[in-house]
């Protein structure tokens, strides 16, 4: 049996967290927006070069800040996935704020940043300069839950990071 790792998706509402999970776990996409209430937990086996890991993915209700419920949920997480909607500048600030808040509770866990909705790049507000700066401190991926671009790479990278830890 492979080891299991818990990762939580954090990000403002409607940035595409549930969609990214759906793409990653079930390889599906829906353009209908259904807000997530509470938490939805999914898992998927990820094959890395030298081992397999079971990623348990916690899709949390999107908020611009961490409420008490989400604080309960992220307990014990091995890694965080910060999700930003490239077309909404404010969602980048929200993701960074959520990260900061979560650090009060979690020890230094690996983090990966997803700038989502790559298929709508012509409407992006997040600049490539911002992305370049961010990627110096955190692995950053441009993703699209719609096309699937960058999704696998982002999850695999996080899987790698969370298994490297002792």
């Amino acid at each position: 049996m492979s080891e299991a790792r818990k990762i939580c998706l954090l990000g403002d509402f409607a940035v595409g967290k549930s969609s990214l999970v759906a793409r990653f776990v079930r390889n599906t996409f829906s353009d209908k927006y259904l807000t997530t209430v509470g938490v939805k937990v999914d898992s998927k086996e990820v094959r890395l070069t030298d081992r397999a890991v079971k990623l348990v993915v916690w899709d949390l209700a999107g908020k611009a800040e961490l409420d008490s419920l989400n604080k309960t949920y992220i307990r014990g997480a091995h890694g965080l996935m910060l999700v930003v909607d490239g077309t909404r500048e404010a969602s980048l600030r929200a993701a960074l704020y959520l990260w900061m808040q979560s650090q009060k509770q979690l020890a230094q866990v690996p983090v990966v940043l997803m700038i989502n909705k790559l298929d709508m790049i012509d409407r992006w507000e997040v600049s490539s300069a911002d992305i370049a700066r961010l990627s110096e401190s955190v692995p950053t991926f441009r993703t699209s839950a719609l096309s699937g671009e960058g999704v696998e790479a982002a999850f695999t990278t996080l899987a790698q990071r969370v298994t490297e830890r002792p």
């Binding site: 299991a4 790792r5 818990k6 509402f13 409607a14 927006y33 259904l34 807000t35 997530t36 209430v37 509470g38 938490v39 939805k40 937990v41 898992s43 348990v56 209700a61 999107g62 419920l69 309960t72 949920y73 307990r75 014990g76 997480a77 091995h78 077309t87 909404r88 404010a90």
Partner: protein, 510 residues
């Protein structure tokens, strides 16, 4: 006390059990269900298949201490069904309690969905507004820039055509004056006719440019008058004849009216149409002839220009009437502005154009113009010039020395000794002292408009003849000249034959 407490406790337990509909599973090592209390079907569990619940609980326990009691409120177990899950570790077996959170979940879902959708809509709205504003600003800036360019171009065309006219008046006027003196020498005659021909091309170009500049300001209304078909034919012939002669082409201008009455059209525009068509025909014909036919039948006027020129290839026949088309670069007729202006004028007059052409054979363009009541404005019947000559004196008022001198010279030729005056106030004094038979005055005087001076002359009771001439050859100026009291209006560049014809009419013995 104890009794009350136990009653309360019992009631509370029943109430909570009823509301939360717990499903209690006793499990072995998170993998095997040993006993069940409650209704599994409430949580979508059928046929004792607890696999997915066990899998979910194992997932939930990743990262947390399985030896401790843990609660996960509001867990979506699929199909947006919400539960709270309790993990109760025990010896020898553990317990899982699943309770219904639907009451709370459903309401939350609705509220949250509505709030999030609203927030999203607001984000979109403000974004769209921002984008629209940016687009609007950009469009405004672009349109302002275009406007500037447009204005500049119009001024440029206006100035150019205007400034072309004055020197052209000198060129063609002097050339006409030279003609009788050089008639003997074939070489100088050829040179002179080349000068005339090219001056005519340029005049036509200046006309067209001015028309374009004016058309930009909204095309001027049509002004229809009764006019003599013969006069139009003669006018066009007199202008084109030197060009045709210079190229040794036969030019045939023929007119015919099947009715007694005079045609009623805007004759200025007819002239412009014909001049463009005929000068084009002459220009693109190397040998042979150009036939011009004017036909009036009481309802419509037909203009037909036929040449034996280079012709227009069929692929260019559609675009030949577009401005600045490329036909001519390909050796076809019709480059430049002329034909596009013809088309525009014909359309404005409600007429039709038909083109027949074959490369190397020739071209025929036929225009049919209806005499439309709608196009008629109250026909300002052309006032015949009154011959109120009181003396043989002629005064010329023009501040352009070249044009003035040319006029003086041409009047010398027909036996007059005109007096040249630059300053309008000097003119008024002279006229008061000794009124001349004819005053020739430029509209575009530096200090004062020639029109105002004309008006003042009439108000002061001057009854001699006045000819007004101007670089602005449009109906407005024409009308204004007439209204100010001028007997005739002549456009620059002066058409010498026409000018001399007027002289003959207005001056005795000329």
């Amino acid at each position: 006390m104890t009794k009350a407490a136990s009653v309360v406790q019992g009631a509370l337990t029943r109430f909570l059990m009823e509301r939360s509909k717990p499903l209690i599973l006793t499990v072995f090592r998170q993998r095997q269900v040993l006993s069940v209390e409650g209704d599994p079907a409430l949580y979508g569990i059928r046929n004792g298949d607890f696999g997915s619940v066990l899998e979910l609980v194992r997932n939930l326990l990743v990262g947390v201490d399985a030896e401790r009691l843990t609660v996960w409120p509001l867990v979506d177990i699929g199909n947006r069904r919400h539960t709270s899950i309790l993990w109760v570790p025990d010896k020898p077996n553990d317990h899982i309690i699943v309770t219904d959170a639907e009451m709370c979940g459903e309401e939350l879902t609705e509220r949250q969905q509505a709030a999030n959708e609203l927030a999203l809509a607001n984000v979109e709205k403000s974004k769209t507004i921002r984008e629209l504003k940016a687009v609007r600003d950009e469009l405004q800036a672009k349109s302002a820039a275009l406007n500037e360019i447009h204005k500049f171009q119009r001024r440029l065309i206006d100035t150019l055509s205007h400034d072309l006219r004055t020197p052209l008046t000198s060129i063609s006027g002097y050339a006409a004056l030279l003609e009788p003196h050089l008639a003997e020498n074939p070489v100088t005659m050829r040179a002179l006719s080349a000068i005339q021909r090219n001056a005519t091309y340029l005049k036509n170009l200046a006309e067209n440019l001015l028309h374009l500049a004016a058309a930009d300001n909204g095309s001027a209304p049509l002004l229809a008058h009764p006019f003599a078909l013969e006069q139009l034919a003669e006018d066009v012939e007199s202008i084109i004849r030197p060009m045709a002669d210079g190229k040794r082409l036969r030019l045939n201008v023929d007119w015919q009216s099947t009715v007694q009455k005079m045609p009623v059209f805007d004759d200025l525009r007819l002239r412009q149409i014909l001049l463009n068509l005929v000068s084009n025909a002459v220009r693109y014909t190397r040998e042979g002839k150009v036939d011009v036919e004017l036909r009036y039948d009481g309802d419509q006027l037909t203009l037909r220009v036929t040449d034996t020129g280079i012709g227009i290839a069929s692929e260019y026949q559609d675009t030949i009437f577009e401005p600045l088309n490329r036909g001519a670069q390909q050796g076809c007729e019709g480059a430049g502005l002329g034909l596009s202006i013809v088309k525009q004028l014909v359309e404005q007059m409600g007429g039709t154009i038909a083109l027949q052409s074959a490369v190397g054979v020739g071209t025929r363009i036929q225009i049919v113009l209806p005499e439309r009541a709608a196009a008629l404005e109250p026909a300002a019947a052309r006032a015949e010039p009154s011959l109120r000559v009181q003396s043989e004196r002629v005064i010329i008022v023009d501040d352009d020395p070249d044009v003035a001198e040319m006029l003086v010279w041409s009047l010398h030729e027909i036996g007059y000794m005109p007096q040249l005056i630059h300053d309008p106030s000097v003119l008024l004094a002279r006229v008061a002292a000794q009124p001349p038979g004819l005053i020739i005055i430029d509209v575009d005087l530096g200090v004062r408009s020639g029109l105002a001076v004309t008006q003042e002359l009439r108000l002061r009771g001057y009854t001699g003849s006045i000819i007004v001439f101007s670089g602005a050859n449009n109906t407005n100026t024409r009308q204004a000249a007439k209204a100010a009291g001028a007997d005739a209006f002549l456009a620059k560049p002066l058409d010498m034959p026409k000018f001399l014809a007027w002289m003959k009419r207005l001056l005795p013995g000329a």
